[in-house]
Subunit: 238 residues, 6 copies
């Protein structure tokens, strides 16, 4: 029995609100239950040094949590003078995942930075960030087309992410914080809407997991992500 | 004529939403027009080293802006490895102002940290932070009473803040970004609901200002702040 | 009764010594009683990135205290790896104040950095820095004229600063450390020799202050600053 | 055809040399072909703050590369003043993996830090670090037993890691640098000698991968890791 | 011919002014010609962690240059966020040298920090710092005796330092900046008033030096330092 | 009697292994007894900003110790976010010494960075670094000739370094850690194979040393360094 009463294959209520703040080219509030993340996509007319003169673009991501997005207050990373290891790991994952959505050659010499800022955390902030960040990214790409800075959107495919894990012996999807902090295995799965895997990160926090458990978790993830693609599609149709 | 069409003495629409996020002891979304700040007040059972063993408490504040809360993206302070001078200046102002609201001796050995995170900026983020932060602080103090960790709230008085300035020769209240970026003088006024001044910070960005202009700005500030105290009171009555 | 025996309207002995060190284009030792600050103005043939190509110049300031300029030794900021919040706040104030003295368009593409280093502190280091820094700045501007790098000095007006406050219920001018550490209200006033205000920063450390107290403090400040302009003038006439 | 001429299921020559340096409680040179990593395990009589008083121990890891371990010189992280994102990500992975090998309750209040320093890099430095680091860890645990600081080794199981990937359309094991820099998919697999998975991290750098490719990669990984457990066993039998 | 017209064996005018600032237990302005350094010695009732509980004291030093103590402005180390390599090297040298003057066991659990801040630089700042710092240190030790915190001064011997070098083929003493920047060899010699060497640091910037040149430089240094001990003695006799 | 049983004038077994790692233009493992340092020389086609456009090259050095190269684990400098004072001091010494070996004008606009990373420490790591680093540097210079990027090697002379000291009253050469940690005086001597001194750094940790002891130490150093030049020559002849 899950703490929330959900069935093993049942994700939380998921909501995507576009145009959440007014300055960014793409701005989304994504909610996976009580997890709330603001994802903004910002366009700049330049590329990082390693890409200069190559005629292609770049997608990068940054991640942060408001100090009191969590149960007890965390020190502010800006005040401590560095981003923690978990932050660095997560923002690299978001960046890699979102780059898979875009044809960087067709993006031209633009950089799109997707900022994912958690205003309330209840597990799954990285999967929410990727799922919501992809929608903000689509809006930013469409902005470039609307502004006639690109002839057509360089979007290749949609990308979404969900967590799966083994909680008290049972594979479950979309873990909230009470499950996450106790799960034996926690796995983040990032897929394309064509059905391919972009990234799989599974970690046994407790007992190791075996091939059968892995297969079951991947099945749950696939189903959950299919639901996310529908929600993204509805949000983008508004 | 102000860019927004407001009269000189007319503040923007101001809204205070309590219980905005669920983890903090006090959590407020404060909106001064398009300026939106999340203010959380977090209670900890400890005091900074310079107060240890003195039996009194401490109120401190931290301030941040989401990278794309502004018209063009600002670098994330956590990624750059330090808080900028403006950030430091603002969070010190917020902390000083909110300490004036509380009897620190009666607070006992608790620290309350008020985090003010700007999710959308349109001028006046520091005055919004103080005004909303004071409401979050009241909720955190009441939490300590409800938890029987304090016999009664150590609140001495409410504190609120508003900006005034001279825009194209005319003194105006509650400047938005288009006004702020062009004003000859910009002044932040922080007052108590007893009518006293806590802090006045006035800067001539262009021409110096004289005593008559100062007096007019202070009158506008007093009127604007009276309106803020009403809004705080209504919010706290919910 | 003030600890120093001074009358409420009586500033300390104030001395300005020009040509204090030999390398800088402007170099001043300013003394407000026992507060001693070395102010140097250094000219560089370049401007910060945000001004490049605009044909105008820039004035900036940096502030520091020798570790044992104070009663007990403070950690050296260079060794701790960052400037503290108070330092950042003060150097921004000095820079803003001194920029008001100069026509930046007429300065051409030069940057003048005014370094204010406190070698002995007894209250009022920021007002001494502004008052002495303005004299160092004048010398640096005159150096540019003497070197034929500017046709005439871009000085618009002299700037000076003094503190006022409420000490044991009485408004007083030019607080020394024993007064400053105990004052209910502390206010720094920066004015031009044309009689306009450049900046007012007043903070109630204890009880809030009211309009009458504010008016009395501003009167004291005006009188004190008039005295400073005379001392600057004498120093520059040497 | 692989650049090295190896068959798809053929790992590189792998060597583990114990007692490589003389100060550490465990010290191993691990070689996966031309990739060479020094892994030292250091025992300390203390635990991190979050574990104090819990009676259990901790395993952590740090990772570094000598500046010229790579084809072109990388800036030294100590000189740049921070560890890069890739370094942070890798050392967190090593630490998590090695913690799975040990019963932390039975370790008592000791911390073992496994330092993995790459002296020559040719792909697979993180898998070599985990595989060699586990041997250094076993030596450090046995040192604690030999010194009578623990009654018996708290080792639960051996842990080893290997990379798999899809190189020019073919799943292969233990990628060297020329393969790694060109692979469509790169996956690191960490397993126990009981056959369970500790961690799977697979990333599609190019085209997404599908379930069949995933299954094939996991089969290759399992075979490769079995070979690693034999090599660890031989090394520890010396 | 030396640029200053001095004879090879002639040091600059050297002055030591005690009680230069009023807060520190020892405060000295030392001048070697145009090189001017403020040396303060600050006493604290504690020792660094590595000495705790050993019943002995510690002497340490920090060094800094005001940004415009030099011909062109140097960036402020506090603003850049770190001390440069030259600063670190110099302050370690000063600390080692001054520790040789004191019986640390007899100092008890006190730390004396000698801050050497260069307000005007013309070569030889490190030798001036050691020579003046030793006088400030003596005053701080005597303060501890006067305050009855120590029964007698733990001073073992006086320490002083001078530079020698080979300038255009001729060994000379006490190099000023024009000589220093051109010298083939530069050597700092630190001695005790008993005639022993505490430290010798000689560097060939141009051609290597031989034993005869070394001997000649050491003779010059010995003579110059004897003069410094006289000046220290006169200063301390005041 | 020395702890190792060596005669006072007897250095440790010294070995230089070239081509130790495969990526660097020069790569040497140097062993002074149990002290083992990897020295790599890396060539880059650029010079630091202060040399741009001058047509000459630069030699610089960086130094590091693996965390467990020592008896107890030292914190990793990359993780602490800064290089310690000792590290900075040593790498500046290595850089200065190796620059004396090369005609920088004849090097053209190349920078050679010599990285000295200690994998096992037993005293004398800086002298080993200079001695081994010079061999790596020669290989890098010869690489530039072989690649036809320079017409001939800009090597002026070989450079080597050894420590001498006074251990229990007796001058000895090439101190190992047990001697070094107890020596009254420790001196590092860097010479050219032409017999000139490049640098002398002698420090009395205990009693001051006198001229006779200095002379004896320099004689020991000269003999020891002559042995080092033979070993360098043999290594380079392979």
């Amino acid at each position: 029995m899950r703490p929330s009463g959900r069935a093993p294959e049942q994700p939380r209520d998921i909501r995507i609100t576009r145009h959440y703040t007014r300055h960014a080219e793409g701005s989304v509030l994504v909610e996976f239950g009580d997890t709330k993340v603001i994802c903004t996509a910002s366009v700049e007319n330049k590329v990082p040094p390693f890409l200069r003169g190559e005629g292609k673009g770049w997608i990068t991501a940054e991640y942060g949590m408001l100090p009191r997005s969590t149960g007890s207050r965390m020190g502010r990373e800006a005040a401590r003078g560095k981003q923690g290891g978990r932050t660095v790991e997560i923002q690299r994952l978001i960046g890699r995942s979102l780059r898979a959505a875009v044809n960087l050659e067709a993006l031209g010499e633009h950089t799109i930075t997707v900022d994912c800022d958690v205003i309330q955390a209840d597990g799954g902030t990285r999967t929410a960030s990727i799922t919501g960040g992809c929608v903000a990214l689509v809006d930013a790409l469409n902005f470039l087309v609307a502004e006639k800075r690109l002839p057509r959107s360089p979007l290749k495919q949609m990308v979404a992410a969900i967590s799966v894990g083994i909680y008290r012996g049972t594979p479950v999807v979309d873990l909230d914080y009470p499950e996450d902090s106790e799960a034996e295995t926690d796995m983040n799965v990032i897929m394309t809407d064509q059905g391919g895997f972009i990234e799989i990160q599974g970690t046994a926090e407790g007992a190791p997991f075996d091939q059968a458990e892995l297969d079951r978790m991947l099945t749950l993830a696939r189903q959950g992500i299919d639901r996310l693609f529908e929600i993204q599609k509805v949000a983008l149709a508004d």
